[in-house]
Amino acid sequence: MDATAKGPGRQVTQPLTKIPATSDGRITGSRIEDPPLVTGQGRFLDDLDPLPGTLVAAIVRSPHAHAKIRKVDLTRARSHPGVAAVIGPEEVLETLKPFPLSLRTNMPYYPTGTDKVRYVGEPVAVVVATDRYTAEDAAELVRVDYDVLPAVVDTKKAANPDSAVLHEGADSNIASDRSFTFGSVDDAFARAAHVVSEEYKFPRYSSTPMECYSVIAEWRDESTGPQITAYANFHGPFSIVPILAGALGISTAQLRIIVPADNGGSFGIKSGVYPYIALMALASRHAGRPVRWTEDRIEHLLSSSAGSDRIMRFKAAVSATGTVEALDVDFQENVGAYLRPPEPATLYRCFGNITGPYGIDAVRMRARAVVTNKVPTGLNRGFGGQQLYFGLERLMDKIAVTVGKDPLELRRTNAIPTSAFPYATPTGGIYDSGDYEKAFAMLTESAQYEKLRAEQQAARERGEIMGIGIAAIVEPSATNIGYIALATPQDERVRGRDKSGSTEHVRVSVDPQGVVSVLLGTVPQGQGHATVAREIVANQLGLSVEQVVPKIDMDTATTPWTITTGSYSSRFSPLLTSALVEATDRIAATIKVAASVLLAEDPTELELADGEVRVTADPQRSVLFRHAAGLIHWDPGSLPDTFEAQLNAEAAFTPPESTAASKTDQINSSLCYGFVLELAVVRIDPETLEIAIEKVFSVHDPGTVLNPVLLEGQIHGAMVHGLGGAMYEEMFYSESGQPTSTFMDYLVPTSAEAAFPLTSETFETPSPLSRLGAKGAGEGSSMSFPAVVANAVSDALAPHGVQITSLPLHGNVIHELLSNS
């Protein structure tokens, strides 16, 4: 992919927010995070040794997808030289409680199998030893006797009453089954000129961070009870903290979680590290020493977490002219062996934007979460978006064919008009801003759409297989966690225990030399939060970026946080930056008061610029920012009598639009809603059936652009993640529940696969809800690209009578489709 801004195809339509340069003009958008990372100076958890005397753990995992644990014999492992402790189901049950779930269902989830194992790779025992080699040697001596049970991995089979049951305490494998109707759905279908429907299957795939899970845990029995300190590369949501405390049977005050500043990528997947925090804390209790566990690649691929696979039935009521009047969707989500919190959140994350960018007033939705003998699902970049839009955008293509319209035109005419913003969706979403018409105009122009279609016609006449795929998606960001409540029926939700919100915290302080420190509690994993925060604070306070020092720190004992804290659902751009503005406003006010003393001028007459505080009407009269700060530190006696010498400002940005689910089951499930319109051109070799992505055009509206270089990086990264799901990555399970377990089978796209030409364009409709107008932009193309590729391949193969209803797509799949058509 063309990562550098060059080439005739690349253009940025709007002059983007100016990137502050250093005083010598050196920096033009490069990241302050990079020099240590690219020179090997990053300090990840495995590089740190915060607790002297730490031992090392290895985990014994289930080789079976479904089996009763008959007997666990730890004797030989315990007597192996170098082993400090070995724990199994007995020790787990003795101390831990099941993790509190997101909804009431009798499917207890512990960090190991206890009565049974329910997926290949499920932990059964932990060996703690002097080093990992010894621990793995001893792990081989753990003897587990299993009674193998029939496994079920297929969602529909698992939902069938005849299926093997995973959790005997529950009636069936269906953990949650909810239906919602908004607007006159039946009427719309009754009067529809066309009813267009299809069943789609979205595959299970994951993220592949460079660093896998890592935990160091120490359990200390103090006079007041257990005190647990855990270092982990966990990044939220911190709603998990009370869940962990619940499983450990302690209060949240007895649990301290510390996250290292360097976290080697996640894309959501590392939120699934938390069961191991509980497990290693327990291991530490038995070993009497701190315990370190570093997940290896095999463990990560086999048993960390995954995005959910989903079977989706989509049905649309369509007018004769192609207007979609109503949508009826039925989702069956395969959540794996346990309903691991925050699941079944994937089903509901896009609740408020289930109609995508289209003005559809009537919606029916059924959402089922089904447990099967696969690894439990969790956060994965896009989180529910790629599943939803794969179905919705494939359906839009089918509607276009049905009514005989061009697919781009069909989308354009169904899209919400610019004049309609802010726009309320039938499911409770409030789209804060947008100009979809502009995006359609930009894409039509940049892709030269009509010419492309003519080229396609000519190519087909030459016997070539060429396709054009389009997807239009709304990119939700800044999740309102209240949507998880929708999995529980309205009358079962406990009054006074509502959940909502999307708060984000920051702390800004100024030292005696006027250097501004910014403490970020967003727990990033490489996104560049520090770079952007520094630029924003420098802009807000009229300083050069060198005068601002961002610090990444998360320690639940000292860093401000709430339940919603964490790095997920693209929260940084809309939320954290808003908190930064609020905190720096307060700092600016304080600095102005100090300067007003030095300048003998009213604070309201002052402004901050160029490292100075100056009189707005007479800029020659000024003092340096650092002198004003110095006054507050050194000479607070000179300040006005009632003035507090406060150069620390904490802000918690709390958007009032993120409220709990209503009694009518509606919710504004995100704060901000961006827009992506994307087009891909593919060619398929008529002989080998290999798919080549010839070029891609992507138009994004992320609200105000904070840093164009990082935005471009997010677009590329999200797209390649989506490419993985579209063409390469699949966590495939055999009938007996044996998964893909190595990178020989689980194919992550490399730079060679991602080298297609990309023209990405950006424009801004600022959000009225965030302080800088920014929306999240880290997930859009990961939601759209699987649909774009599928639409392009389907378009290419349309003359051959093939349509695409599942992923991934590659030569072998095309061969099979053509052989069967």
């Binding site: 080998t688 089978d745 194919l747 490399t750 060679a752 696969e753 030569g811 061969h815 099979e816 052989s819």
Partner: protein
């Protein structure tokens, strides 16, 4: 992902390496050179040799020499070096080596190691067979020479005894009347092939003299076939030895199809079913035989 315990020795003389391998307990010795396949096997505890015999410091195994119209590549020579230094002498190696893993892998991996590992989807065994290379194996009873056609006995299996070391492979230097073709299809660049072919054609004044083609990724071992008759008939049918490659390719469709039906016996997997692999071998065999034939004419 930590290996089970093993002993590690790094002798400097070939004789010592053979002795170490022979004296390993229970015949559990294993040779390591580049380690690009062996190390993951050890880390996953899929293999548990009692002793690893590292041959990279055996001086005589680090040489690449030309003698007797042959390029002799000793056991510790990295693939990257062969690619850089010998692609002119043995053009089929030059065509095939870019497909072996990635550059980082080739800078560690060895050509002889790839042969000894004998993955049925690997490139080097197929090249060795199409070039009629000779593999030299050294053991307690001295050296022996084995033709590539006889060397591979099945999936990850060769005629090498547990106490023997593959010490070199000799590829005939290209002659001017030869042409080559190599292609493979993989899901991603650098992966083992779903299917691939390595073709060599020798012709005199347009008449086909030799046309061996080896298919890989199709069976438990690479499959060598003589396509000289089929290629001659295809060229004859066009009535013009200088016909364009695409026409020769089309004329080869029938025999390529028949060959694919013959050589593809693997059960297939999620990357490629048996039927898809047959399709790929048919397409690639016709293309690469035509390409090899055309390039054989240039030197004539």
């Amino acid at each position: 992902m930590k290996a089970a315990p093993f002993a590690y020795v790094r002798p400097t003389r070939l004789q010592d390496a053979v002795t170490e391998l022979g004296s390993a307990q229970h015949g559990g010795g294993k040779v390591i050179a580049g380690g690009q396949s062996l190390v993951p096997v050890l880390a996953m505890r899929l293999g548990r040799p009692s002793t690893l015999v590292d041959i990279t410091r055996v001086e005589e195994l680090t040489h690449m020499t030309v003698d007797d119209q042959c390029l002799r590549v000793a056991a510790a020579v990295r693939q990257r070096r062969v690619q850089r230094e010998a692609s002119q002498l043995v053009p089929l190696l030059g065509l095939a080596l870019p497909w072996v893993g990635h550059r980082e892998i080739r800078s560690r991996g060895t050509v002889c190691g790839s042969l000894a590992h004998a993955d049925p989807s690997a490139e080097m065994p197929a090249v060795a067979m199409s070039l009629n290379a000779t593999v030299e194996v050294t053991g307690p009873n001295g050296r022996r020479q084995v033709s590539a056609a006889d060397f591979f006995t099945g999936a990850m299996a060769t005629v090498t005894e547990p106490t023997e070391i593959v010490t070199s492979v000799s590829f005939p230097i290209a002659s001017s009347d030869e042409g080559y073709g190599f292609a493979e299809i993989a899901r991603r660049h650098g992966d083992y092939a779903i299917a691939g072919v390595a073709a060599r054609v020798r012709s005199t004044s347009g008449a086909v003299v030799e046309a061996p083609i080896t298919s890989f990724g199709v069976s438990d071992k690479p499959q060598l076939r003589d396509m000289s008759g089929a290629l001659q008939r295809a060229v004859d049918s066009l009535g013009d030895p200088a016909a364009p490659t695409s026409e020769i390719t089309n004329a080869l469709e029938e025999p390529a199809h028949a060959m694919a039906e013959d050589v593809v016996t693997t059960a297939g997997d999620s990357h490629g079913s048996t039927a898809y692999r047959k399709r790929l071998v048919r397409v690639l065999a016709a293309r690469e035989l035509a390409r090899a034939y055309r390039s054989s004419l240039k030197g004539a």
